[in-house]
Chain length 238, copies 2
C-alpha cells in the first residue's frame, strides 16, 4: 500500500528520498492557492522562479509577472501573491502565461525536483489532488513550503486534510510517519473551525491586514476547483 | 514576556538564533531520559560524544561508556541507551562519570552550542525544567532530537507539555510560533493516554520489543526526578 508522508519544511527535504514518489507542494498562504486559482481563471501555464530578477525578465517574453517578498507584492511586476489578483479583473489573465516568484512556495517547487511527479496542492483543489493521487497509486510526500524554512500550521493542516481524505477511502497508509500522524491530529482539531484556528497562527498574524484576512478565508475553502496543476520541465500546467 | 519556541529537528536549528536564549534539548526515547536518570542515580557527570570511537576511548580515563546506534547498544561499551541501565544494578554507576553517544540526542546537544544555557529535558524532570526556566526568565527554544533529523511525536509532545506548564502559570508567551501552537494541541490530544498515543508513533514501533515498551512506559512518567542537567564546557551535570 502506498504511503503518505509529510515534509514540514523545505529544509528537511534532503532527508526524504523523492525518487519514485509523487511530491505535493503546498503553500496555502498563498502561492499554491494562487497557482490553482490562476489556472482555473484561464492562465495557460506558469513558470516559477527563485529569483525576482529572473521573474521580472520574463515580461520581455510576453509573460505576466507575479512576485511576492515577505508577504508584499514586489515592485515592477503585474501581480502579487493574492489569488484575487487572478479573479478581480484588474489584470487580464485569461490566455496569458505567468512568471511567478514567492518567498517560500516557488522555492519548494524547485527543491522537489527529484520526485517522479510534482503536483501543486491547496485546499482549493484538495479533492482533485486526492483523486489524482489515488489514480497514480504511488508513495506521496507532501512538501510544506513553510515560512522561511519554519514549520507552518496552514501547510501542515493541508497535509492532514489530504491524509484524512486518502485514509477515509482506504488504499493509502497514513500511519507510517510521525509527521502524518501529527498532521492528522492537528487537522482533526482545526477542521471544525479552520478559520478561527488559523487566526492564531504566526503566518496569518504576520499577514495582519484586511487583504490578508480575505485571502485566508478564500484559501481555506475546500474543493473550489477541480484541477491539479503539475510542475514539469519548468512549467506548471493544469 | 519571554517566548517558548520549538525546533522540531536538529536540521532546522540553523533557522533559530539561540544567542541569548536557553535551549532545552529533548530526546525522550531515550537519551535525555537516560541522562536525567543517570544523574539521579548518582552519576557525577556525563560527557556526550558524537562519535562512537571518541566515546569508547573515554574508558581509558576511567569513564563508564554508554553507546547506542539505531536503537541498540553498541559493542564494547558498558551501557546502552536504556534508563534502566542506571537503575538495575548490573553496572555500578554511583559516583562514576559516563561518556555517552546516541544516534540523535548527543548530536542535538552539540548543535545547541550557541545557546546561553543548554538544559537536558525529559518528561522525568518536566516540572524541574519548567521551574528553572521560570527562574531564568529568558527566551526558550526546545530542541527536539527527532529521529535522524525527522520529526518525532514524543519529543514534540514534551515541547507541548513544557509549553502547557509554562502557559498555565503565566510569564511565558507560548503563542508566538506555529510549532509551539501545534505542540500544545498535540499534547492536549495525547495527554489523556500518552502511552496509547505513543504506541502509534513510528519511533516506538521501531523500538518494538519488550525492553523498548518498558523503556517507553518509564520515559513518559512526569516529574520523577527533581533535577535539571545542564550542559556546559562539554560536561552534563545536575
Amino acid at each position: 500500500m502506498p504511503t503518505l508522508d509529510i515534509c514540514f519544511s523545505p529544509e528537511l527535504l534532503p532527508l526524504f528520498d523523492l525518487k519514485g514518489k509523487v511530491a505535493v507542494v503546498v503553500d496555502v498562504l498563498r502561492a499554491t492557492s494562487s497557482i490553482v486559482t490562476a489556472l482555473a481563471a484561464g492562465v495557460t501555464h506558469m513558470m516559477p522562479f527563485s529569483e525576482l530578477a529572473e521573474c521580472r525578465a520574463m515580461a520581455a517574453q510576453g509573460y505576466l509577472t507575479a512576485a511576492e517578498r515577505d508577504g508584499r507584492q514586489a515592485e515592477g511586476v503585474d501581480l502579487g501573491n493574492s489569488p484575487f489578483g487572478y479573479l478581480d479583473g484588474v489584470v487580464a489573465v485569461q490566455g496569458r502565461a505567468v512568471a511567478i516568484t514567492t518567498t517560500n512556495g516557488t522555492r519548494a517547487l524547485h527543491l522537489a525536483a527529484a520526485a517522479d511527479e510534482i503536483l501543486v496542492g491547496a485546499f482549493l483543489n484538495l479533492g482533485a489532488v486526492a483523486d489524482y493521487l489515488r489514480q497514480l497509486n504511488q508513495d506521496v510526500v507532501v512538501v510544506c513550503a513553510g515560512w522561511k524554512g519554519h514549520f507552518c500550521l496552514e501547510d501542515t493542516l493541508f497535509g492532514g486534510a489530504l491524509a484524512a481524505r486518502l485514509a477515509a477511502e482506504g488504499g493509502f497508509d497514513t500511519t507510517s510517519s510521525d509527521a502524518t500522524l501529527a498532521a492528522l491530529d492537528l487537522w482533526a482539531a482545526a477542521a471544525p473551525d479552520l478559520s478561527g484556528y488559523l487566526l492564531r497562527s504566526a503566518h496569518v498574524r504576520r499577514l495582519n491586514s484586511l487583504e490578508a484576512h480575505q485571502d485566508m478565508e478564500f484559501c481555506i475553502r475546500q474543493d473550489q476547483y477541480d484541477l491539479v496543476p503539475v510542475f514539469r520541465n519548468g512549467r506548471i500546467t493544469a
